[in-house]
């Protein structure tokens, strides 16, 4: 199966800190891939390099074989890489509708209203269209963030700590939603909640100190002694 996105020797240092240090990584189309690692392992830096929020210092990023290392973030979004923020980043003073419409209209403005409502319905925010986004509950803001990512119709959806701050009941709904996205969309999931990762991911990559420690199925990763020592602590 052709690789969707691939990095070779991807590197980003901040002064003496090797946040991402020569990472080789590949995503198969249609998988849900978990990215885990201790705090400060370089997970968010790594996906920031993928999405173009940060420029790479060295190494290459290939999307469907095409070198996108030097493309600006907005151009990568148009090529199908969507990123949802770890710290919810919505347009707080715009309505829920406008928040999602901004994502929808980047795909063309035909039937904008209908497509926007459909994206909202998909995450269960229908009926809240006219509310100002900042008045939503935190959980709903996370869902709005997700709806904006989905509305971009991405090939690759990067979810950075999506369940952080969600209630247990909301997490169940979230898992169902993510499962419904594949295989049309490939999902790269940074997640601290081990239950969620082990349950959702088809494969998992473990980062420590900016390097790949292990890659494999949840069972393989769980059984890996190096991972247990470095991260799971069990």
């Amino acid at each position: 199966m052709a690789v969707l996105i691939e990095t070779r020797g991807l590197t980003r240092h901040f002064g003496g800190l090797r946040a991402v240090d020569g990472v080789d990584f590949a995503l198969q189309p249609g998988e849900i891939h978990g990215l885990i690692g201790p705090n400060g392992a370089g997970k968010t830096t790594f996906v920031s390099l993928l999405s173009g929020r940060l420029p790479a210092q060295s190494g290459t990023i290939l999307l469907g074989g095409e070198d996108i290392t030097r493309l600006p973030a907005h151009a990568r979004v148009r090529k199908g890489i969507a990123y949802t923020f770890q710290i919810t980043s919505i347009f707080p003073r715009l309505t829920v509708f406008d928040n999602v419409a901004l994502a929808v209209q980047s795909q063309g403005s035909a039937e904008l209203a209908a497509r926007t409502r459909a994206a909202l319905a998909r995450v269960g925010l229908q009926g809240l269209e006219e509310q100002e986004a900042q008045t939503l509950s935190y959980g709903h803001q996370r869902l709005l963030e997700l709806a904006m990512g989905l509305a971009l119709n991405p090939k690759l959806l990067i979810l950075d700590e999506p369940t952080q701050g969600l209630a247990a009941s909301e997490i169940e709904g979230f898992k169902t939603l993510v499962r419904s996205l594949v295989p049309q969309t490939t999902v790269l999931l940074i997640e601290h909640n081990m239950e969620v990762v082990m349950d959702l991911a088809t494969r998992i990559t473990v980062l420590t100190f900016g390097r790949v420690l292990a890659t494999g199925t949840p069972a393989e990763v769980r059984a890996n002694p190096a991972v247990q020592e470095a991260y799971l602590g069990a």
Partner: protein
């Protein structure tokens, strides 16, 4: 920004109709003032599209006003262009200078953007003084009567002048309402609200802001050209910092990010200065005090406050 479409359009068209009626009710002196206010309001509408909607706080819009004024006034002066072509040249002049300014200044943001735009405007002002033999410098020049006619109408007389100002105002107002209610209007607001998020939704902030600034320049150019043609004077004083601050004050007073705010702000500020001039020579002090009160108690401006409290459907 969604919903309330019909109500909003009715409100705007009612204002235009009321202004049309005003010429029959006002004395010629006040009608001329109102024509002046409408032209200044066009300038402020352009400022509002950049500042109020897109979040570009420029201190250099005098440059764009002057660009329109001279792009219309100089061909009239040098080659005897009539009002129509001169006006179009003025709009183009404002847009071109805004695009050039944007290409350079939009590499910065925030306070740096304010300073860079201010510097370019000062450079423009000094250039006008330097070429005083052509531009008239501080003294400026009067636009010849022959260049102030449009299709046989003498725009230096009260009724044609008022109607010309109203036409430009009405087109500018409707265009700005249509723009801010369009998908591109939503994109402009996205820049103001959260540029980083906008980038991650696939928008290129530079091109969006460049387009918004250029549209703003078209408005400033139209206002500058209209001022030259309708009031018959072109001068470097319109390129001074004062004319960069004025549209900001109008917009802040009326309500930044509201389509009617620029007109309301221009009207009230004009009236305030008129009233203050009658009481004291220190009228700038009264204007300043009014602004301090405004910023303290209604930072969203008049219409911004009304929209927030009572009329969320306002554009």
């Amino acid at each position: 920004m969604t919903g309330g479409g019909v109500k909003v359009w009715v409100l705007h068209l009612t204002l235009i109709a009321a202004l049309f009626a005003a010429q029959f009710l006002l004395s010629p002196y006040h009608a001329t003032n109102l024509a002046r206010i409408m032209v200044l309001a066009v300038f402020a509408m352009g400022y509002n599209l950049a500042f109020g909607y897109t979040g570009l706080l420029s201190l250099g819009h005098a440059l764009l006003l002057a660009a329109g004024m001279y792009a219309a006034g100089l061909p009239a002066q040098l080659w005897g262009w009539t009002a129509g072509p001169a006006f179009i040249a003025g709009i183009a002049g404002g847009g071109l200078v805004a695009a050039a300014l944007g290409l350079l200044a939009l590499r910065t943001a925030g306070v740096s953007f304010m300073i860079v735009t201010l510097m370019f405007a000062q450079a423009g002002f000094l250039t006008l003084l330097y070429f005083a033999p052509i531009t008239g410098g501080d003294d400026g020049f009067a636009v010849a009567a022959a260049s102030r006619t449009l299709m046989g109408f003498d725009l230096s007389t009260d009724t044609p002048r008022f109607l010309a100002a109203l036409t430009i105002f009405a087109i500018g107002l409707c265009a700005s309402l249509a723009l801010v209610r369009s998908p591109f209007g939503r994109t402009m607001v996205a820049m103001r609200e959260n540029e980083e998020r906008s980038r991650m939704l696939g928008m290129n902030p530079f091109t969006v802001k460049l387009a918004a600034l250029t549209i703003s320049g078209l408005y400033a150019g139209a206002a500058g050209a209209a001022y030259a043609i309708l009031f018959g004077y072109v001068g470097a004083s319109f390129a001074t910092i004062q004319y960069s601050i004025l549209p900001m004050l109008y917009v802040l007073l009326g309500g930044a990010g509201t389509t009617l705010g620029p007109f309301l702000g221009a009207l009230l500020m004009f009236a305030l200065i008129e009233a203050a001039t009658g009481i004291t020579t220190a009228h700038q002090f009264i204007v300043g005090a009014a602004l301090v009160v405004l910023v303290l108690f209604a930072p969203k401006g008049i219409l911004g406050t009304i929209r927030e409290r009572w009329a969320r459907w306002l554009s």
